[in-house]
């Protein structure tokens, strides 16, 4: 078992954003989390990534308690999150973004020896350049490699977020609404990338609105409503669950 979420709760003053949520993620799985707006999906991911400290409950990563750890520690452990609204480095090119994202990988490969690269830049260069090119190709960004982040389309920005996450060699990749705001072709692109990731064995946790998109990829689905988990299971079952249908579509359709 890779990740265990145990009764995780997050309170903002009087507002309970995430309420006693528990679930597990097994290696190689694709988990889809969905729910209406305000159901706590993004907050849940932020908690898992260490961007918010939990009010109560635990998060266990390979049996190690990482609740409340700092984002950089969690990233180093292998959990990488993308942002719903693409977070970028304004002045830099696509290639530079991906190069910066290689920090963790570089640390893992060279360890303390990376101090050497200060005086021998070639040591890290070839390894890096190959990785960067490969990731750009995987994310279909190779033809915009030298464009500034500010010049990208929304879909390209989102793919860049995914590319940076991939450079970190995640064991668990948390994708926050990767398909939202994307056009048909871009969604299809994203689909290809996700299938490639699946073949490589990366564990994914995706949250999204587009239920159909999730249903296509996820092995297991978790439905949230107002911060609480209301259903879990194979996507088709969860989507047919009357509780879920009520929450999503209203009583009439139940």
């Amino acid at each position: 078992m890779l990740l265990e979420v145990d009764n995780l709760t997050k309170r903002f003053g009087g507002l309970i954003a995430v309420s006693s949520v528990s679930f597990r993620i097994e290696p190689g799985e694709i988990i889809g989390i969905f729910g209406p707006n305000g159901s706590g999906k993004t907050t849940l991911l932020n908690l898992l990534a260490g961007l918010l400290p939990p009010t109560s409950g635990r998060v266990l990563w390979r049996d190690r308690d990482i609740s409340g750890a700092k984002p950089e520690t969690i990233a180093a452990a292998g959990i990488i999150k993308t942002f719903q609204n693409p977070q970028l480095f304004a002045e830099l090119t696509v290639r530079e973004h991906v190069t910066i994202a290689s920090h963790l990988a570089l640390k893992r490969i060279l360890g303390p020896r990376r101090i050497q690269t200060l005086l021998q830049p070639k040591l890290a260069k070839t390894e890096l350049t190959d990785r960067v090119s490969r990731t750009l190709r995987l994310c279909r960004l190779d033809d915009v490699g030298d464009k500034l982040a500010a010049e990208l389309s929304y879909g390209e920005e989102k793919m860049l977020g995914v590319a940076m996450a991939l450079m970190c060699e995640p064991k668990l990749l948390l994708l926050d609404e990767p398909a939202s705001g994307l056009g048909q072709e871009e969604i299809s692109n994203l689909g290809h990338v996700l299938r490639d990731l699946r073949t490589q064995g990366t564990t994914l946790c995706i949250i999204d609105h587009k239920v159909a998109f999730l249903a296509e990829f996820a092995d297991r689905a978790i439905a949230l409503q107002q911060g609480r988990k209301i259903a879990e299971g194979p996507p088709q079952d969860v989507l047919a669950d009357p509780v879920v249908v009520t929450a999503y579509l209203g009583r009439r359709h139940a």
Partner: protein, 311 residues
């Protein structure tokens, strides 16, 4: 590295001109350029506006002199305890600021407060520092040269070559740092701290590193300055001194290697080019700072250089 290469011909300048004024301006340029280069690392690259470097400058000055006189050390060895003191203070102040996640403006204000506290301590610890009267520095750094043996650095020519060499070494080290993964991570912190964190960059450590390096370079500059001008006073730790360095970097160009040096040159040469009284000089400094912010946010070097495409 090519930009640093542009500085190398300066070694030959004393062969061309013996004009004391020109050479003196350049000596001050080189010394202050060291401090400005340090500030560029923490502000230009890591994006943290600090007001502590004047305190480091002054403390570096005082500590080197006191170590030399008190511990009977030659200049270069006396620098070591000074660097140690400044490093310790940087780690302390930096730890406090970054642990509490102070951002931008509040970081500037708190570092200002600490710098002012340092100045008050120096001002009042008269038994050690002689207070407002300052310290008279009669000792000189010594260098071992092949052929001449141990030589005192005395007189314009000697100081010129010494400070130019010091600046070149600092500039090279800065270039190496900035072009490496460390420099990349610092820029990442400047451009988007949250994103940098999720990519595994430990922002606390990197900010602390940049802050400490900047202050250590300022301390080195301070030591050279004190021994060159033969005088060390509490005003070295004043806010004005910090602002001078900021003005130099902003004017010359943030983020480039040459920028801080160009800025240092302009702000040092200006009062000599136009014969100004002290007040008008200060007013001009202020006006330049304002102009730099409003009109040339990338500084002079940035203004002329198109952004190079990275490969």
């Amino acid at each position: 590295m090519t930009s640093i290469g542009l500085l190398v011909p300066l070694y030959l300048l004393p062969a061309v001109t013996h004009n004391e004024v020109v050479l003196t301006i350049l000596i001050f340029t080189f010394i202050l350029g060291i401090m400005a280069t340090g500030f560029n690392i923490v502000f230009g690259h890591a994006g943290q506006l600090t007001m502590f470097h004047a305190a480091a400058f002054g403390i570096g000055s005082y500590a080197t002199y006191l170590a030399m006189v008190g511990l009977k050390l030659p200049f270069w060895l006396a620098l070591l305890p000074a660097v140690a003191v400044v490093t310790a203070l940087s780690l302390l102040v930096g730890w406090i600021c970054f642990q509490f996640r102070l951002k931008e403006f509040y970081f500037a204000v708190v570092t200002l407060a600490f710098a002012e506290l340092a100045r008050l301590v120096v001002l009042n610890w008269t038994s050690l520092t002689n207070g407002t009267l300052g310290l008279l520095v009669l000792e000189k750094p010594t260098v071992w040269l092949p052929g001449a043996g141990v030589t005192r650095i005395d007189g314009t020519f000697a100081w010129y070559w010494l400070t130019l060499t010091a600046l070149l070494l600092v500039a090279c080290a800065s270039a190496i740092l900035v072009r490496s993964w460390i420099g990349r991570n610092l820029s990442a912190i400047r451009l988007n701290e949250d994103l940098a964190q999720t990519l595994g960059i430990n922002i606390f450590r990197y900010k602390l590193l940049a802050f400490t390096v900047s202050n250590v370079l300022a301390a080195f500059a301070g030591a050279l300055f004190g021994f060159y001008t033969n005088y060390i006073e509490p005003a070295y730790l004043s806010v004005t001194q910090s602002l001078d360095a900021i003005a130099m970097v902003l004017l010359g160009g943030i983020g480039s290697i040459l920028g801080p040096i160009v800025g240092a040159f302009l702000l040092t040469a200006l009062p000599h080019a136009i014969d100004l009284t002290a007040e008008v000089r200060a007013a001009t400094y202020g006006a330049i700072l304002i102009l730099a912010i409003l009109v040339m946010p990338r500084g002079i070097v940035g203004f002329f250089r198109r952004r190079p495409r990275a490969s």
